[in-house]
Symmetry: C2
Subunit: 554 residues, 2 copies
Amino acid sequence: MIKSKLKIIPLGGLSEIGKNMMVMEYENDIIIIDAGLMFPGEEMLGIDLVIPDISYLLEKRDKIRGIVITHGHEDHIGALPYLLPQLNVPVYSTKLTNGLISVKLKERKALSGANLKVIQFGSQITLGKFKVEFFPVCHSIPDAAGLIIHTPLGTIVHSGDFKLDYTPVDGKPTNLSRLAQLGAQGVLLLLSDSTYAELPGYTPSERVVGETLDRVIANAPGRVIVTTFSSLVSRIQQVIDAAAKHQRHVFIVGRSMTDIVRMTLELGYLKAPDGVLGRIEELKGMPHNKVVLITTGSQGEPTSALVRIANRDHRQVHIIHGDTVILSATAVPGNEALINRTVDNLFKQGAQVLYDKVAPVHVHGHGSQEELKLMLNLVKPRFFIPIHGEYRHLSLHAKLAQSLGIPKGNIFLLEDGDILELSPQGGRKTGKVSSGNVYVDGLSVGDIGSVVLRDRRMLSRDGVVMVIITVNRQTGKLVGRPDIISRGFIEPGEAKDKDMIDKSRDLVARTLDHSGVRPADWGFIYRKVRDILNKFYYDQTKRRPMILPVMVKV
Amino acid sequence: MIKSKLKIIPLGGLSEIGKNMMVMEYENDIIIIDAGLMFPGEEMLGIDLVIPDISYLLEKRDKIRGIVITHGHEDHIGALPYLLPQLNVPVYSTKLTNGLISVKLKERKALSGANLKVIQFGSQITLGKFKVEFFPVCHSIPDAAGLIIHTPLGTIVHSGDFKLDYTPVDGKPTNLSRLAQLGAQGVLLLLSDSTYAELPGYTPSERVVGETLDRVIANAPGRVIVTTFSSLVSRIQQVIDAAAKHQRHVFIVGRSMTDIVRMTLELGYLKAPDGVLGRIEELKGMPHNKVVLITTGSQGEPTSALVRIANRDHRQVHIIHGDTVILSATAVPGNEALINRTVDNLFKQGAQVLYDKVAPVHVHGHGSQEELKLMLNLVKPRFFIPIHGEYRHLSLHAKLAQSLGIPKGNIFLLEDGDILELSPQGGRKTGKVSSGNVYVDGLSVGDIGSVVLRDRRMLSRDGVVMVIITVNRQTGKLVGRPDIISRGFIEPGEAKDKDMIDKSRDLVARTLDHSGVRPADWGFIYRKVRDILNKFYYDQTKRRPMILPVMVKV
């Protein structure tokens, strides 16, 4: 009997960082792994965030058995508030991930009706023909999971986002023996995290950072202000531990940091000895060398606590002589300029600033090349798909796998939307489903497209010039001089610019007097006015504002 | 007799990377060191480039004895075409730097009338009370200089942009013995490059890159395509040397690369054995393993040769199986995304790509901490000013100097526009001159200011909505329904958006019918329409387009 083939379809997470989403389909069953968002690139002007295109899933809605989430970062859960109202299927995740999903759905008013299920590591859930088991991996958030997916064609291992840390803060290392056991039994396919496939060697243990934090907190002459990702709970734990050890009190500043500290304390992911955590009101009067502050703002977010502190704009905290600020984080690509400005401003305020370039205050949450090799070696998959990363990361990860003896033909470099059909004999790309970026801008999801973005790009470069042309409905004659209004093109009050605008009004008037304006010819007139002004302004300024002629018929 | 004080005034190059310019003033004499441009930050929408504010210099025009240029990079020479027409003073530089300045002035039609003088290393020029000597330093361009400036108050050493390389490609290491000699005689002030003050250790020698290039070019199965900065002549030399050694021909692709190769060959800064350099027309039919291409595009510039090759959009060169591409450069801050996209596209085309993260194909042109310490140690200055870098780099460099025993009070952390008055007894900041960013946008220099940039920012986020309100001049009554035109706000053709626009037209009509429109109240009406639509659109979309009411009186 010939078995059906397994379809693997990435809808996000390949070829662009973020909005991770992978579809697995076997006969009448579909499972979805992760549902993340992506933050907009520089060229996506005004866009708030980006989610995957799920038109393929909407067509096959009846086959979807569930969404399995590996961990609680935005690029793995952030699309859920937008997708669940369209695809109401159960969402499976570990306890903390589930808590973070609830918060996210609540913020976006999408919690009611959501079917969220908490899964224990090691237990198995049945989703149609798929049986899914969660195994613990180390990553920069607690309760991160990899997946073991049993299918009629064989076992699939999905690494999630992972690194190997033999001495993690929460004491839960990546479960290597389970992976070795699977490898010995035979694994059909490995999908593994490629984010740091460029980096040689091993990603250092979180312990390295713990030692730095301990040393700095022990020796700092004054207050220590630590900023990190609010989801990097193990880092917060390290700060609390070091503070407690050196008889300092810890104050949490910033809403998202306060929320997550409260939640992780309640769920048991964070532990603080009695009396260590203080309320911000108690800060005043406390000796400086007894204080540690933990704040948001590691990405230089303009409204975050740290940025307001750096700008001397925070209600409760100002930089004072002797302060040490630790940026215990790394830049998410695109945020470098904001972070650099924050560091500069902290130095200007007189703080001593420690950040990843000058001190070991952060380690990555993803494995480097040696860890990726170890994963491949233990799992010994027949087939391999590098996931999570830009195309260059996937390419390098594929080369690593080849160097370990996996034949080139058994490695599949997929792009979003590719359909890979896999059987134990081999796999091949058989087509492409609709995929790409769905823009969220304010309340609109998916309405914004290429025209709006092109216009915003044009407006952002040289501004806009409106030309109001009033014509008599009967005679087709111009009524008065055309009016011209501009924004973002010339600075108000420059005499020579006023003069130029005046000349351009005359130019339009002359053109229209000459050719006459028949309202029926509006298309022709529109293009003519636009072309004439385009040329005139370009000759005068070498700039190309968007030109918008408007006709008023009276 | 009390001597006058020396004034040191940075007009650029501190607190923001680029547009380097330093003013030194003693009694009736002023010298200017460097005149660079800066590429615009992400928030400077539509701006082409940024130059320093020289209003201070224009006031003191009669005192200026000359502009001394340390080397030929844009951030040191790029403002000259804009400044020389205003300040016609002699420009002193070494031979290659002078050549590059001429090219730049010619491009901008500012060459005629410019007074450019070529200076030999070691010779001295007298500029009023200042005597200036150029000494060779290693940097990522040939003929780079540091300056020894003799003043009535003592000797000043200005490092230029430098690193120490004991085995440079051009055989001209930084002249350490001259520095040691000066240090022994006593130096009043050192100004030293802080660009890489964050990096511990030593910047590796160019030789490291030479070895990688040689190995790759020797072993590559097919063509090797190398991209680098066109001014990094030593890198081009290394590629030519390796190609010649392994019997490959070198083809230059891209206009700026072709221009600089021609110029440096003529001036003797680049040497190519006979027959190694080929014309691009000869490329066809040449065995792939006999070919090396050198191209522009190391910063992912959209119109560069490499980017067009990566996009399969180049007239002469396509990626073919077996190609190896080497990006022998590092990202200038802000260009990361463009470069990453180019690397991804090259991988997608099937090339093997080597770049700084995965292979030693580039070294920096600036010294790391140990080199900065050596400079301080040799020169042994009484006073120290860290230059060239963001504020965090200056702060870290200042701390390095303190750790070597320079008293904190003798180190001056300046920001652009600060006036430092210095005597052998000490120095202090005594005021601030006008300084900052002058924007060049098309033909306009300095006309674009905060209003235009604010408007462009607003337009780029949610677009623009124009409201055309036609009123009867006599009765003040609305004529017809107000018209609404938008760009960058809603995607054309979305039915529900059309409906929203329609509703907003009614809303404006109702508002104006109710309150009446008297042309004299236009200011009031303008604000009212703007506020009502702002609220309406925000409620409907959570977006805030720029709203521009226009009144037409008939």
